[in-house]
């Protein structure tokens, strides 16, 4: 990273603090716009959303129609060549975006909600509830994710619903633990004591009083989860545990691996969906990384001069 970039990233620190009176959304947008990583990540994600909304505009070929020459190299007609069956690879990547994105967002959203409820409840209620929920979290944290996913997916009928269920079940634990520790730090705050004195129910306090104060952490949880879910969903489908009739990047990878795409010299067939998964994951990760920096000022890039004095 160049010196200029570091300086431009360090700049927004002041405005964020100065404009505290403005709405939190405005402050947040400002922080995102001033952070290079956040901008890059947001642009990637926005493009992915647009592609999955209007795939037909970009790729006119029917992604599943096996009507072209087989194992063709890249050309103007077929930007990324064709598959072993004669389907257009570019078209498959573009049309495969939608289901890949849907699975990622749905799983991350449900898992975030589960981790939020379990983490905050454990922290706020405490006692035996805390101990048992924490134990449950620890167990799910240690059970190796992919092996558990494979076992679960092998018993259920292959399909998007199965994918969503098993991924959700295996991915909430890490965030739950983080949200619990954040919840613990809020426990002794006055506004919660006030709510208790007013006689509010526990569920009201958790949902209306505590969770809204943790919005930024919850968004960060969602982003962090998305990075993992993109990879795990594709990995599971790559192993042949998805529904192979559905078009996603993971199933493309599965067919490419089964068809020996690399060995046959048809590299794009395997590399293009792989790269697509990597780009989507990186998009979520960049925004998440920027979130860490916005939330934790200590991690923000420092100016050259200061770095030298501490070294």
């Amino acid at each position: 990273m160049s010196t200029a970039a570091i300086a431009s990233e360090a700049a927004p620190v002041e405005p964020i603090i100065a404009t505290r009176e403005q709405g939190s959304t405005a402050r947040f947008m400002r922080a995102v716009l001033h952070n290079r990583k956040a901008t890059a990540g947001s642009v990637i994600l926005l493009l992915i959303v647009l592609i999955s909304a209007f795939p037909g505009v970009i790729a006119r070929d029917d992604p599943q129609a096996a009507i072209y020459g087989q194992d063709l190299g890249p050309s103007w007609q077929h930007l990324l060549g064709t598959t072993q069956l004669g389907q257009d690879v570019f078209s498959q990547v573009i049309w495969g975006t939608r289901l890949t994105l849907i699975v990622t967002v749905v799983v991350s959203a449900i898992a975030t909600i589960i981790s939020m409820v379990i983490g905050v409840t454990a922290a706020y209620v405490g006692g035996l509830t805390d101990r048992s929920l924490s134990l449950l979290t620890d167990i799910f944290l240690i059970l190796p994710t992919l092996p558990l996913l494979i076992v679960l997916a092998s018993y259920l009928p292959p399909g998007t619903v199965t994918l969503i269920v098993v991924l959700t079940l295996t991915s909430w634990a890490f965030q739950a633990r983080q949200l619990r520790s954040q919840g613990l730090s809020l426990r002794a705050r006055d506004f919660l004591a006030a709510a208790r004195v007013r006689g509010e129910r526990t569920s009201y306090i958790i949902l209306v009083e505590i969770i809204p104060t943790m919005t930024s952490l919850i968004v960060a949880s969602f982003l962090g989860l998305s990075v993992f879910v993109v990879g795990f969903a594709a990995g599971l489908q790559f192993l042949g545990l998805g529904n192979s009739t559905e078009l996603t990047w993971g199933t493309m990878l599965y067919y490419a691996q089964q068809g020996g795409a690399l060995e046959a010299g048809n590299a794009w067939w395997a590399l293009a969906p792989g790269a697509a998964v990597a780009v989507m994951g990186a998009g979520f990760a960049l925004v998440n990384y920027a979130f860490d920096e916005i939330g934790n000022p200590a991690l923000r890039p420092v100016r050259k001069r200061r770095a030298r004095t501490t070294a």
Binding site: M1, S2, I6, D138, I139, L141, I142, L143, P144, T145, L146, P147, L148, L149, I150, V151, L152, S154, Y155, L156, P157, F174, V227, V230, G231, F232, G235, F238, L239, G240, L241, L253, Q257, L262, E263, G265, A267, A270, L271, G274, A275, V277, A278, G281, A282, F284, A285, L286, Y289, D292, A298, L299, P301, V302, R303, K304, R306, A307, T310, A311
Partner: protein, 323 residues
């Protein structure tokens, strides 16, 4: 001491949970996968068949509690029944275990060493050249799916440049021995799968190590060390890094599960015949006994490493000893 007892307790409870998950899944999942798989087992060793029937709840007319206890006992005595090829599950696993153990073990150590070292140095020389290039780059690479990195390496080094072998663990026709040429052959086959794992996991270690280190460097005792005029390397290693490494050790649990999952995908990408590839073939063959035993093996591996990391933490962090 209480810390260690608590962690051993977690170890036992999680092991029990994994065993129970294995017991419950075949019973509650829709469809009769297990029944149809076991129906193919004709004329096999009756003791092994009975172990499988207990595990999957097929043709067992005893009370559920009795079956459950019997299942747990079978697991502890290593009776996991037979694979679809009628080979004892344990024999099959034992044959593949060394390959995965070596691959994952060596790559994890390399990735942890690189990650910790780069993390420490880049936080120490914050804003310097190393800090500007390696952490952001490897952090992005760490989010890449391991199989994509594998496919990329495979394409560049095996298909295009033809420097390294495409797949498997040693050349076809080579006889396993302790000769130098065979060991060299094994190593050339392990380079690409190993490299994929190192590339993807090193970034995670760098990221967390760098952030811990930055937080630790702001502590007063680091300033104190400077004021006392201690040599820089001593402050960096003994004062800052020793404390910064603690969260990384405890984070080992989650990371190792992630690395093991990654190794399954890598072994599949490179057709590397270890436990991960066996796991993959067990799903395509609907070899449920093998698959469930492998799940236990992976869980046990993570648990043992977590416990080791806990002991190490207890050794390094005096606060945990009497907490």
């Amino acid at each position: 001491m209480r810390y260690v007892t608590r962690r051993v307790g977690l170890f036992l409870i999680t092991l029990w949970a994994a065993l129970t998950v294995n017991f419950i899944i075949p019973r509650v999942m829709p469809g009769n996968e297990a029944t149809s798989v076991l129906a193919t087992f004709h004329g096999v060793n009756p003791a092994a068949l009975h172990a499988l029937q207990i595990e999957f709840g097929v043709n067992v007319h005893e009370n559920l509690v009795v079956t459950y206890l019997q299942y747990i006992a079978n697991c502890f005595t290593g009776q996991f029944g037979l694979t679809a090829q009628r080979v004892p599950v344990l024999t099959e696993i034992a044959g593949k275990l060394p390959w995965t153990l070596a691959l994952v073990g060596v790559t994890t150590i390399i990735a942890f060493a690189i990650g910790t070292l780069v993390g420490v140095v880049s936080a120490w020389r914050r804003g310097g050249k190393l800090d500007g290039i390696l952490p952001p780059m490897l952090f992005i690479v760490a989010t890449f799916p391991v199989f994509f990195v594998g496919l990329l390496l495979l394409y560049v080094f095996a298909v295009t440049l033809n420097w390294l072998p495409l797949s498997s663990n040693y050349s076809i026709g080579a006889t396993p021995s302790l000769s130098l040429s065979f060991i060299g052959d094994v190593l050339t086959h392990a380079i690409l799968p190993g490299l994929s794992l190192v590339i993807v996991t090193a970034g995670l270690w760098i990221y967390s190590m760098r952030n811990n280190m930055i937080t630790t460097l702001a502590e007063d005792y680091v300033k104190m060390g400077r004021a006392k005029g201690l040599p820089s390397w001593r402050i960096m290693t003994d004062y800052a890094a020793r404390n910064a490494i603690l969260p990384n050790l405890t984070g080992f649990a989650m990371q190792l599960g992630y690395v093991l999952g990654g190794s399954i995908l890598v072994e599949y990408t490179f057709s590397y015949p270890g436990l991960g590839y066996l796991f993959y073939t067990s799903t395509t063959d609907h070899d449920l006994p093998l698959m469930q035993a492998l799940f236990l093996v992976y869980t046990l591996a993570v648990l043992v490493c977590v416990l080791l990391a806990d002991f190490l933490t207890a050794g390094l962090d005096p606060r945990t000893r009497d907490a």
